[in-house]
């Protein structure tokens, strides 16, 4: 057992933290939030250049990391700074799906991802699938040598910027079978694909994707027909580790902002941080923050474990972070008072990042149920 970051990860953390604290100021971010693109190409290029994207891939994939603790190192920093750029979609989800299932020409795209020139989006969730990974109603029918996709994908983050959508579709089985699901690499602009884009409440953009008899060559399929579920589950496991770490980072910032506010804001003639009721509640936030950090470490440290234990640890982390995150976000706002309710104040954005994490790949209750099911099976 060892609870220290390796030297490489320590360097990555330092570099990334410095870069973001220079470039990703509140003002800069508010500008990004207001922009039509919902992200900054400069920042993306900067992150690529620093090797942040590469850190999320293994050496075999052309990167220099890719393990659980690489993910958490990067995403905790992104979370601290409230970064809205689509690292999760392009590098973690897209990258891992390409790597797991792609043939040589498909995995070749990873180089572009690491270099920062290619965005990806994972078009999997559907209007009524909620958080069920196995529920895919979109169909893929073979027609001659071609494949024809028909269906709707919901809240596809980063869809507009993506060079390729990685679209899941069912080739066989019932609507909630794990078997029978395939993934397809759909280039942007493919005929029959319609995007209705919109901003997200916590920053970034997504789109409702309509697939209306989208005709693709068979070579667009990632991996074997109907066998994509395991890779989807793996990629989502990594995404859950990333989301946990991102929420943790945002919780650190929320707590720090609150600490600063409590110590400087005067009321009734003294800093409000000298009021015992707030002190004790702030202490509880710090305790939960330590717990959240441990949960992230547990999830990251078990990412390469056998599936049952991996998923149990991840479900535990997302549940704990969901609970602690809500507490931290709400308490930070409450202890700040009115100022936290204003859009321009740093905390407003950070609190949104924390809370809205709970709507991606399962909320606090979903992960609790998963934990119970996985524990009972063990």
């Amino acid at each position: 057992m060892d609870f220290n970051l390796t030297e490489e990860r320590q360097m990555l953390q330092d570099t990334l933290r410095r870069y973001l604290s220079d470039k990703y100021t509140t003002a800069a971010r508010n500008k990004i939030l207001d922009s039509d693109e919902g992200m900054s190409a400069d920042i993306w290029a900067g992150l690529a250049e620093l090797g942040v994207i590469g850190a999320l891939f293994s050496e075999a994939e052309g990167g220099f990391g890719g393990a659980g603790f690489d993910i958490t190192t990067v995403f905790e920093e992104l979370g601290r700074a409230g970064v809205v750029e689509p690292m999760l979609e392009t590098a973690v989800l897209g990258g891992r799906l390409l790597s797991a299932l792609g043939d040589d020409s498909q995995t070749a795209l990873i180089e572009e991802v690491i270099g920062g020139s290619l965005h990806l989006a994972f078009a999997h969730g559907e209007p009524t699938s909620r958080y069920d990974l196995n529920r895919v109603a979109t169909t893929a029918k073979t027609d001659g040598g071609d494949i024809v996709l028909t269906g709707r994908k919901a809240v596809v983050a980063n869809a507009e910027a993506a060079g390729y959508l990685i679209v899941s579709a069912r080739e066989s089985g019932a609507v909630d079978d794990e078997a029978g699901i395939s993934l397809f690499l759909v280039p942007a602009g493919t005929s029959g694909v319609t995007l209705r884009g919109y901003p997200l409440f916590a920053g970034g953009r997504a789109a409702e994707v309509t697939l209306d008899e989208v005709r693709l060559p068979a070579s667009a399929r990632l991996g074997a027909a109907g066998e994509a579920f395991a890779a989807i589950a793996d990629a989502v496991a990594a995404a859950n580790v990333a989301l946990s770490a991102e929420a943790l980072g945002a919780m650190v910032t929320a707590t720090e902002l609150t600490r600063g506010y409590l110590m400087t804001r005067q009321q009734f003639g003294r800093p409000i941080g000298t009021f015992q009721a707030l002190q004790h509640r702030f202490s509880d936030l710090l305790i939960e923050l330590e717990q959240a950090r441990s949960a992230v470490i547990n999830a990251a440290g078990h990412l390469a474990d056998p599936l049952a234990e991996r998923d149990r640890q991840i479900a535990a982390a997302r549940n704990l972070i969901g609970r602690a995150g809500r507490l931290v976000a709400e308490e930070a706002i409450q202890m700040h008072g009115g100022i936290a309710m204003t859009q321009e104040y740093e905390l407003a954005h950070i609190a949104k990042r924390i809370v809205m994490t709970d709507h991606r790949f399962g909320d606090t209750d979903y992960h609790l149920e998963r934990f119970i099911a996985l524990s009972a099976a063990a």
């Binding site: 969730g125 209007p127 009524t128 909620r130 958080y131 069920d132 529920r135 919901a154 809240v155 983050a157 909630d176 209705r196 919109y198 901003p199 997200l200 409440f201 916590a202 997504a206 409702e208 804001r265 005067q266 009321q267 009734f268 009721a277 707030l278 809500r326 709400e330 706002i333 409450q334 008072g337 009115g338 936290a340 309710m341 204003t342 859009q343 321009e344 104040y345 407003a348 609190a351 949104k352 809370v355 809205m356 709970d358 709507h359 991606r360 909320d363 606090t364 209750d365 979903y366 609790l368 149920e369």
Partner: protein
């Protein structure tokens, strides 16, 4: 003790129901149901309809044109109005300023202002909070200096809700800086059109321009606009703050919110079954419903105990704390209920200019969750309320 509604109370409920069915415009209830923003005209329209029926000022005495309802009647009206998705009544003139004028205003002020509040001639906003003061109201710095028959007002107010619609503002101002904080405050009525007043919107974290800053630069206010005595404003301010606010617990809103939540949870599917059948989700909904059932009775008990027009005092602090906790929990559950469709934030949709993303009920849920964090902050934070409760109840 009797929890059943008397025949008179049941008849009153029927009367309210019929009124809402006949008089509440559908475009207004549609907006409320979908979480869309209400404009000034919408609210004025609804106030006028209520006033026409004599129901706008539920707890004003009849002599001033109020309905003078008792606690149970008010409860029934609030329940029915929330169920019918009626717009909420804007309280600044009706429930905040009016009781102060009735008790401390002079005859001329009562005669002039009270009818204008009922008729919608004036839209009042509240000039209490200041930047840097927060819940420590008494530390306010806005100065009013007497010059002949005017006060000259300089300073700044903030968190002024719906100030953008208002033509009048009631303000706490400092008229004597040389005495103990609470002793140098006066209560002034100010016309928003007076030169030197500027209103700037504060955009809240959900993107709405609901509150404002109001700046005063050598604003000349006629001395006759002073309420009561100079330097006694703190007394009036406290009266306003602790005065019976029938709806401080927000039971009607919570009930309507809970019903909406249950409707959503019946439609949303999770793991192949309706979300409401998920035991964990059902348990959270049930707990808040149980809390609300009790709160509804707590609310009625407390309001019934206070004789008409009397301030229930510390009990209203209790209602505020628990009432906001319940409303915020319902907001949290509603956000969760819609799953990934809580993520989009299509402002053009929320403004009513486009089809919804996902189910129509999903759009405003995240914004409402965040916006309603204000419930436990504004109007005397829950910390302030807990302090009041402790002071009163432990003092003995």
């Amino acid at each position: 003790m009797d929890l059943s509604y008397s025949p008179e109370e049941q008849a009153f409920r029927e009367e309210v129901r019929a009124f809402l069915r006949d008089e509440l415009p559908k475009d207004l209830s549609d907006k409320v149901r979908s979480g869309a923003e209400l404009g000034k005209a919408d609210i004025e329209q609804w106030h006028a309809i209520l006033n026409n029926r004599g129901w706008l000022a539920a707890n004003w005495p009849k002599e001033f044109g109020g309905a003078e309802w008792n606690a149970v009647q008010r409860h029934i009206f609030e329940e029915e109005a929330a169920q019918a998705n009626a717009p909420r009544i804007v309280p600044f003139g009706l429930s905040m300023l009016a009781p102060v004028l009735m008790k401390f205003g002079n005859q001329a002020q009562k005669d002039y202002y009270l009818p204008r509040i009922l008729n919608g001639d004036d839209w009042w906003c509240q000039g209490y909070s200041e930047p840097g003061a927060g819940s420590d109201l008494a530390s306010l710095k806005t100065r009013a200096v007497r010059e002949g028959d005017h006060y000259i007002v300089n300073g700044q107010k903030t968190w002024t809700t719906l100030g953008q619609h208002a033509n009048k503002i009631f303000c706490l101002v400092r008229t004597n800086p040389d005495v103990k904080q609470q002793e140098g405050i006066s209560f002034l009525l100010i016309d928003m059109d007076t030169p030197g007043i500027e209103v700037r919107p504060i955009i809240l974290l959900d993107g709405t321009p609901e509150v404002n800053e109001v700046f005063f630069d050598n604003v000349r206010v006629p001395a006759e606009n002073l309420v009561g005595e100079e330097n006694k404003g703190w007394t009036y301010a406290k009266y306003l703050l602790t005065h019976e606010r029938t709806n401080i617990a927000g039971v009607g809103f919570s009930r309507a919110g809970l019903d909406a939540l249950k409707r959503i949870a019946k439609v949303e599917m999770s793991g192949g079954r309706p979300l409401i059948e998920d035991p964990h989700f059902a348990a959270r909904v049930a707990k808040v419903e149980i809390d609300l059932m009790a709160m509804s009775t707590t609310n009625l008990r407390i309001i019934s105990q206070a004789a008409a027009g009397q301030a229930p005092g510390v009990e209203s602090s209790m209602l505020k704390v628990k009432g906001t906790i319940i409303r915020q929990e319902i907001n949290d559950l509603t956000r969760r209920a819609v799953g990934p469709y809580a993520l989009p934030f299509p402002s053009e949709v929320l403004a009513g200019n486009n089809d919804p993303i996902g189910p129509d009920y999903a759009g405003p849920t995240a914004a409402e969750y965040f916006n309603n964090r204000k419930l436990s902050i504004f109007g005397g934070s829950n910390e302030i309320q807990r302090g009041i409760i402790a002071k009163v109840k432990m003092g003995g």
